[in-house]
């Protein structure tokens, strides 16, 4: 509507921001006109219709004008991606900003003390058990991955540890403090949570969002910290953009900057790379690596198993109850037997004799891969098998150790749960 654009350009009508003098001047003019009519037309029968006209004109102008100052549209698909965001300052400056953010932290517990200790944590919502008897601990300064399918209780666990909801039973120590109503505020001073939904105030700018949270944490020198937090997520140039104009990925990064503001001892990240493009995801991974280097304990909830494998020192797999916990390589060893796969040009005449070497516990033929050998130690078994194959005159095409990923571990456990449940 043309009139609407005219008013918007001049910032009058409902789009007025009360501090803008334009809006106040027009309002005062309307009030002054009414008073003038009342005083000058005293005794005249025409004053009431004139007054009503003034009020009506004011209301019409207000209604005709198009609301708040037009927000920038969210970037279209062909606009710069998250990773090309204005103000990108590069990895080096990102690291410098991160160092500045974490340099002032005073340790609240001894370095040997675990950042997080959870013992027999259970949460029930009525009859439904969301988290069942979960126990684990997280060392200070490590990146801890918390994996599990939807509805496994990951977010509930994070909410309990962030003092948002109370456990039905069990205890926990968070950043050296007992999880207890009396310690709620002190625990929340030592932690930060990046929720899956960025939860930004879309009418406020990026800087205004962070200012609000800086105030809630009572940060000294909030502007400096906001600058550092934005630089750490490569958003320094977007400080004055309304959050409503940012893409989902950029909002996610603003939420990450918000979580970094208070320099927490423990940072809970709930799906931090959800909705990010690969380059932006990599930047977040580098940021998490940087946080680890600076001694921040990161509690990472994710569905991305390759992300957990790349970033996490320890992982826990949850499906209401804790299914397993350990280093990714430990989990692989624990769950899968070590295997070698042997491929030969032609089938072996007597495989039993060939594979009867030290370190090989058993074997079976596989028509697609050749022979699958179960071994106790691949590093001793592989040379012995190679020698035996050569001695038997076999034409060896390949001999390789099977590498299991964290995804294999995860799927194996979830399959077990599925079979147990059926």
């Amino acid at each position: 509507m043309r009139s609407q654009r005219w008013f918007q350009r001049r910032r009058v009508g409902f789009g007025w921001r009360p501090v803008d003098w334009h809006g106040w001047v027009v309002t005062l003019l309307a009030v002054a006109a009414m008073i003038a009519v009342l005083v000058l037309k005293r005794g005249s029968a025409a004053r009431i219709p004139v007054m009503i006209l003034i009020v009506a004109a004011y209301v019409v102008v207000a209604l005709a004008t198009g609301g708040t100052r037009p927000a920038k549209e969210a970037p279209a698909a062909d606009e710069p991606t998250d990773s090309e965001a204005k103000g990108s300052v590069g990895v080096v400056e990102q690291r410098l900003a991160l160092r500045a953010l974490t340099s002032g932290r005073v340790s609240t517990s001894s370095p040997d003390e675990p950042a997080l200790v959870v013992e027999h944590l259970t949460k029930r919502f009525g009859e439904r058990v969301a988290v069942d008897d979960v126990s684990f601990s997280v060392a200070a300064g490590e990146v801890f991955g918390f994996l599990g399918p939807n509805g496994a209780g990951k977010t509930t666990t994070v909410r309990i540890l962030a003092t948002l909801i109370a456990p039905t039973s069990g205890t926990a120590h968070v950043a050296g403090l007992l999880l207890d109503p009396a310690n709620g505020v002190d625990i929340r001073k030592r932690i930060a949570v990046m929720t899956e939904n960025p939860g930004l105030y879309l009418r406020l700018t990026v800087a205004e969002n962070l200012e609000f949270f800086a105030g809630l944490y009572e940060l000294a020198q909030p502007q400096a910290r906001i600058g550092q937090a934005l630089a750490a997520v490569n958003l320094a140039g977007r400080a004055n953009d309304p959050c409503g104009s940012l893409s989902k990925g950029l909002r996610q990064r603003v939420a990450l900057a918000r979580a970094l503001l208070s320099d927490p001892a423990i940072l809970f990240l709930d799906e931090p790379t959800s909705g990010l493009d690969p380059v932006a995801s990599r930047e977040v991974h580098e940021l998490i690596d940087g946080l680890r280097e600076h001694g921040v304990t990161v509690f990472l909830t994710t569905h991305r198993l390759e992300e957990a494998e790349r970033l996490c020192d320890h992982v826990a797999i949850l499906n209401t109850s804790l299914r397993t916990i350990g280093r990714p390589d430990e989990l692989r060893e624990r769950l899968f037997t070590k295997t070698l796969v042997v491929r030969t040009l032609a089938p072996l005449a007597s495989p039993d004799a060939v594979f009867a070497v030290a370190g090989v516990d058993g074997w079976h033929a596989d028509h697609t891969t050749g022979y699958v050998l179960t071994v106790s130690d691949a590093r001793t078994a592989a040379p012995a098998v190679t020698r035996a194959l050569v001695a038997a005159g076999a034409d060896l095409l390949s001999l390789a150790e099977v590498q299991h990923s964290l995804e294999d571990v995860y799927l194996e456990l979830m399959n077990d749960d599925g079979e147990a449940g059926s």
């Binding site: 009431i48 310690n183 009418r203």
Partner: protein
């Protein structure tokens, strides 16, 4: 109680109001609508009107002036908690050290300031209009000192009471619209009180005005504590009622206890 956290909440809320079309619209239009009737009343009373006629007319004006601080704030206050929950901003806020009492006080102050400023501004316009435009018989009743004092004292206190009702409903409602409707309905009983005063069924005197104002002030403080007590983090986050009473420090509903071994 951290003043810095309360101020942060107030600043954020005011910034949001300034860019919210609905709030600005309510703030801009409602007072003008409330101004129309008093203006017509003031300027249609003839100088020869009898005492009861004038008192009745001025009673309507006073009532409308006291309706403004009752009617405007619930619209904003009812949005304060359930609105944040709906837009997904409540959970990040609750993970910070802010206490429920600080958060709610900040939201109440943010709703209070513009509501009272508008109510006083409209009252000022009415007073100026009466002083310069109305018949002398009207002017003498409107400028009755106890009436003026009651108006000045009750405007902020009624606004605050109405805000706490709005916020209280907002902490328990499941939907913004429902919260706003309930808050408006819940504020209506205050009209009875203001009517008694406006039509001078309770004769305003300076001691009575101060006494009632003090009573309202105490009621407002109690309302703040009660509403803070109603603030249930677990219910707001999960939609499910906490099983045991909670404290202001968080852990919304419960207590930790050792797992039976």
């Amino acid at each position: 109680m951290s003043l810095e956290r309360v101020v942060s909440v107030v600043r954020k809320e005011v910034r949001e109001f300034r860019r919210n079309r609905f709030v600005i619209g309510t703030m801009a239009v409602l007072p003008f609508i409330f101004l129309i009737t008093p203006m017509i009343t003031i300027f249609t009373i003839p100088a020869s009107a009898s005492g009861p006629q004038v008192k009745a007319a001025v009673g309507v004006i006073s009532l409308l002036m006291l309706i403004i601080p009752i009617a405007i704030p619930p619209v904003i206050a009812a949005y304060s908690v359930v609105g944040e929950r709906d837009q997904g901003t409540l959970e990040p806020v609750l993970t910070t050290p802010v206490r429920a009492s600080e958060l709610l006080l900040g939201k109440a102050v943010a709703a209070f300031l513009p509501s009272v400023a508008i109510a006083y501004a409209i009252y000022l316009v009415v007073l100026i209009s009466v002083r310069f435009g109305a018949a002398h018989v009207v002017s003498s009743v409107v400028f009755h000192p106890p009436q003026l004092l009651a108006q000045l004292l009750f405007t902020p206190l009624l606004a605050l009471w109405s805000i706490w009702i709005g916020i209280g409903i907002s902490t328990r409602a499941s939907d913004v619209r429902v919260a706003q409707q309930l808050a408006t309905v819940a504020s209506l009983p205050l009209l009875g009180f203001t009517s008694l005063l406006s039509f001078q069924l309770i004769k305003p005197s300076v001691p009575l005005a101060i006494g009632l104002a003090l009573a309202l002030l105490i009621a407002d403080v109690i309302a703040w504590r009660l509403v803070s007590g109603l603030f249930d983090r677990e219910r707001l986050i999960t939609g499910k009622k906490a099983s045991t009473p909670r404290q202001d420090g968080g852990l919304a509903g419960g207590q930790t206890r050792t797992h039976p071994r």
